[in-house]
Amino acid sequence: MLFEQFDPQKHQQLQILNEEAVIVNHKLDPKLDKALLLKMYKTMHLARVADLKALQFQRQGRMLTYPPNKGQEALQVGAMAALEPKDWLSPAYRELPAMLYRGIPLESIYLYWYGNEWGSHFDPNLHTLPFNIIIGSQVNHGAGLAMASKILKKDEVVVATIGDGGTSQGMFYEGLNFASSFNAPLIVLIQNNQWAISTPRRKATKAETLAQKAVAFGIPGIQVDGNDVLAMYVAMKAAAKHAREGKGPVLIEAVTYRLGAHTTSDDPTIYRSHEEVKIWEAKEPMIRFKKYLIDLNYWSEKEETALEEEHNDFVGKTFKNIEDNLGAAKLEDIFKYTYAEMTPQLTEQYEDYKAWLERKGN
């Protein structure tokens, strides 16, 4: 049993693929097939390109405030790859890679950060909730999704993701305790990227690990190298099995690093050193995953170049389409979806305002 082998209170952290792209735990190597590995890698690659380009667009004044996720691709994609499509994701907001893997179009993700609600309008059958900016509440929502799955005997498991900073919020504890109390199939995945805006993880709690908080809920907790895509896959696979078998929630702490700013409004040079970032740059997940694939002869620099070109082109076109066609908001949309049907008051306010705009020649 994986969770018994890696006790966070004994500082045991799951790693399978180390920083040099060497398998260090052969027993736990999931030996994923080429097709799946390439799907994971290509999603991470697209996420990285989309992330870097979003920053460029923002600097050019074309994108609004955006939360970079560079460095967190492996933990998200590794975890999502271990789920089934019927399972659920209840995300926070730094989850672009996970959302892509779940099948949410990049167009939707970009549209949301572009400042248009249609970015959260995607297929509910993807079993993925829209981004959640209020810190921590997605754990409560995840608990509810999981309780519904259990009550309706749907055989789904639910993953709620949260940052290290989010684990300070009451809702993290309440949601996990709910799920544990009802033995609901909720997995909470902490993306411990070390920084809650300017506040370092070590200052936000006296606990040595975040995974050890599982003890208080009476559930398994495991700390994983979040930059190791294979370890993340294995940890989530075991957690999903545990939850699916009716054994209740699991807490996973993925140790990673936020290589970028909190958002484009943030300046991390105020609160952390260049040296610290350098250390984590060397450990970032794409380097080792790519090397691993090349060593297996599953991937080549030539294919990398082609993919880079393809993704650059795709991301550029996706954003251009938003700027040219999808991004502008329509007046009626801000009224129409407040309720299933417009109330008389809303209808009046909409009509009045529309008439006023028309008088102004807009």
Partner: protein, 325 residues
Amino acid sequence: MATINLLEAINQALDQKLADDKRVVIFGEDAGFEGGVFRATAGLQKKYGEDRVFDTPIAESAIIGSALGMSLNGLLPVAEIQFDGFLFPGYAELVSHVARYRNRSRGAFSAPLVIRVPVGGGIRALEHHSESLETLLGHIPGLKIVTPSTPYDAKGLLISAIEDPDPVIFLEPKRIYRSGKQEVPTEMYRIPIGKAKVVKTGTDITVVAWGAMLREAEKALKLLENDNVNVELIDLRTISPIDEATIIESVKKTGRFLVVQEAVKSYGPGAELIALVNEKAFLHLEAPPSRVTGHDITVPLARAEQFHFVNPEQIRDAILKVVRF
């Protein structure tokens, strides 16, 4: 005197109260080392140490609840909630505890604390970063709610808030944090809580605004320059308790009344102010009191916010409608 913006005025008030009163402590998410995401508390931790100016974990309920505990045990906490939309996890503490302590203990306990919150929209911010809180806070008996529209008022009101014996929520219109500078005295001074300010005297209509809307109303007055309308403009400054005397006196003079409110329409301060005018100045009215507000909708994301937030042309048209009734 120094020429500073609203954010700098807040920083100055906090700085001077930290120096003036050892009981003052300042905290919030990123409010310590970094000095806040807007830099309202910049430099204060360095100057006064980590015991008096500090970062907290992300937990608004604990920020407000612990501020209450601190205020019950000898400190004067000035806590920062990072953005308006993040207040709600801590709202229960305000409603159920902070606001009630004095009353439920018949004065044995009190909660002399300040909660600072950047509020409002118009800066193309993210979801949950553009909310108006006046209604949800003004409706709670036991809380005082103030909101400045100028650097001068920000400093004087914040000092009064910190010195007030009751809990004060200090709403900072983030849209105008850096948008204008003003001469502000370098020494400490106070602006009384519960007092509105007549910004411009006039005879034809009383217009009440506050926070970021004051500036929009001033822009509307410029648009009215050729319309031969003499507006009396009042900055409410305190949402609760409302300065009834200033408003009623003005309406008795002008006979017309308009409220400008950024928040959604229903149950807002506009409704409260119009009810007040109806109750106390009805026979002086020459036209129905009116309001120009946001729509009754969720604050739209950035690409549609211009459809929601009140603009000077709307205010001008609303003024003319009341005057020409």
